[in-house]
């Protein structure tokens, strides 16, 4: 196999079951699993496998409760998967010990959160430099790199402000700068724009696309917004009750929804797309 075809991220048969004694589950025993669910266990991620190539933007879309946030947290073990493997650049993340895991989080991935997760007692500059500080980078170097990242996200001049005095959109720019400054292999974004106003959201999506042209990161992007998924994703997965219902290029998913659930999800987009193509009669 040629090296370029190797996936940067590979997830194999990932499961996450909440609310049971996790060691004693036989996930292959379907009857036993059903019994556990009847007793209150929740299967948040159910046997999910996928691969993401270097430089690709992979969107995971689903409604709330579909398990998408749990899934993205399993990728860096903020939530410990019940079973399955996460392989990044040939390294098995699920097999790492505590020390290796911390090094992995510091150097290979960076995450952007829906509710920003900024430190309220640190200003913008210190927040952006936070990851570098954890790595032990010298003050001078981390401030220099942080300033560059702040400029990249268009916050130049705001370095000394505190998160509490910034708008939601600006706080999320800080969140994105904090992730970019790490220069990670994979950027994980968990509904980064969901708590922003529609107009700001649109603006941030455009900027992310522009940014992506220059940084060319591998991005795993979680959202419940189909429009966002279509605009940003090179490929997308539709998730429902812990399962990937369909994976593919956005236009393929619109044109050929795999089942009724996906069809209902994308029907407005279908209509628009077909109208635009002057193909109105083909509508069901």
């Amino acid at each position: 196999m040629v090296k370029d075809n190797k996936p940067l991220l590979e997830v194999r048969n990932l499961w996450k079951v909440f609310g049971v004694n996790e060691e004693n589950i036989d996930l292959n025993d379907l009857a036993a699993l059903e019994q556990l669910e009847a007793n209150g266990a929740v299967v948040a991620v159910r046997n999910v496998s996928f691969r993401v190539k270097r430089g690709e933007v992979f969107v995971i879309m689903g409604l709330s409760g579909s398990g998408k946030s749990t899934l993205i947290r399993c990728l860096l073990r903020l939530i410990e998967p019940t079973s399955g493997q996460v392989i990044v650049d040939g390294e098995d993340v699920t097999a790492m010990d505590e020390k290796q895991l911390i090094q992995f989080r510091r150097n290979k991935v960076a995450m952007v959160f829906q509710h920003y997760g900024l430190l309220p007692h640190r200003n913008v500059l210190e927040n952006v430099a936070f990851g570098l500080k954890l790595r032990g980078v010298s003050r001078e170097e981390r401030e220099e790199r942080a300033l560059k990242a702040i400029e990249q996200v268009g916050l130049k001049g705001w370095e000394k402000y505190y998160p509490g005095s910034l708008s939601g959109g600006m706080q999320q720019r800080v969140g994105i700068a904090r992730a970019l400054v790490q220069d990670p292999d994979i950027l994980l974004m968990d509904e980064p724009f969901s708590s922003l106003d529609p107009l700001i959201r649109r603006e941030m999506q455009d900027e992310l696309l522009k940014l992506q042209e220059s940084v060319k990161k591998t991005i795993i992007f979680v959202t419940h917004d189909l429009n966002e998924a279509l605009r940003l994703g090179d490929r997308m997965a539709v998730m429902r009750e812990g399962v990937f219902v369909q994976v593919g290029k956005p236009q393929d998913i619109i044109i050929k929804p795999a089942d009724e659930y996906v069809r209902r999800f994308v029907q407005d987009e279908r209509r628009m797309a077909l109208v635009a193509a002057g193909n109105r009669k083909a509508l069901p």
Binding site: L76, L78, I102, Q103, F104, R105, R106, N107, V109, A110, M111, F113, H115, Y116, G117, L118, L119, P120, H121, F130, G131, K133, L134, R135, Y162, G164, S165, R178, Q182, L188
Partner: protein, 284 residues
Amino acid sequence: MFPDALQFHIASYIDNFVKWLQISYGATFDAFSNFLLTILLGIQNALLLIPWWVWVVVVTGLAWWQSRKIFTALVLGGLMMLVGVFELWVPAIETLAIVITSVIISLVIGIPVGVAMAEWDRLSVVITPLLDAMQTMPSFVYLIPALMLFGLGKVPAVIATVIYAVPPVIRLTDLGIRQVSATVQEAARAFGATRWQMLKEVRLPLAMPSILAGVNQTTMMALAMVVVASMIGARGLGERVLLSLNRIAIGNGFEAGFAIVALAIIIDRLTQGVARRWQPPQTN
């Protein structure tokens, strides 16, 4: 009444235990007692070296710096002045030295214990009832053994004051750390924070307003203990109250009581001002 056969006393065992401590470890307690006394007298002499007008100016200045209100500053300065006017300057400084020593010891013990309670849930199960006991046990009960072990005077007063005053700072440190936003902590974890980094960079700074409220409470409790502590020979304002009580000198008693209140108000306002400065900036 309660049947005789079921009656049993532990009093004699406790008596024997204290006697045994006194005989076997008398030298250790003496050495500790001397050590503590040296520190206390050092603090007291340093405080007495400062001329009275410097005290008044510093209290007024600090109050103004923190509140930016001329009225508050003048009232606090005036209260400090009044202590001297009532001819209670030296006892007030003696009391202050006991309070400062007790508070320092309380913080050195209390903050680490509070942090440990927040980090390990099992520990808090053990310590919480202990704190309840320390706060509800009448102080005279442990005043006597403290007297026997540490001798008459200021040292047992400090020990008893610490027992009485340490619970609030422990509780509020624990509470403050537990209330740190889960989102911020998750973000820090995602960027590869070790447990120690999490404590130092995130949990402690964000818990600081609550910890300082604990420091304030502990100081107030220590001040409230001075009258009781005077019964075992600690000099200071408490002794004046006690003497007035014995002689039924109502006016003198009121003056000494008022001086205690004045100190309490001054210390409370000044430490609260420090706590406010630690709140993360919110507005534009």
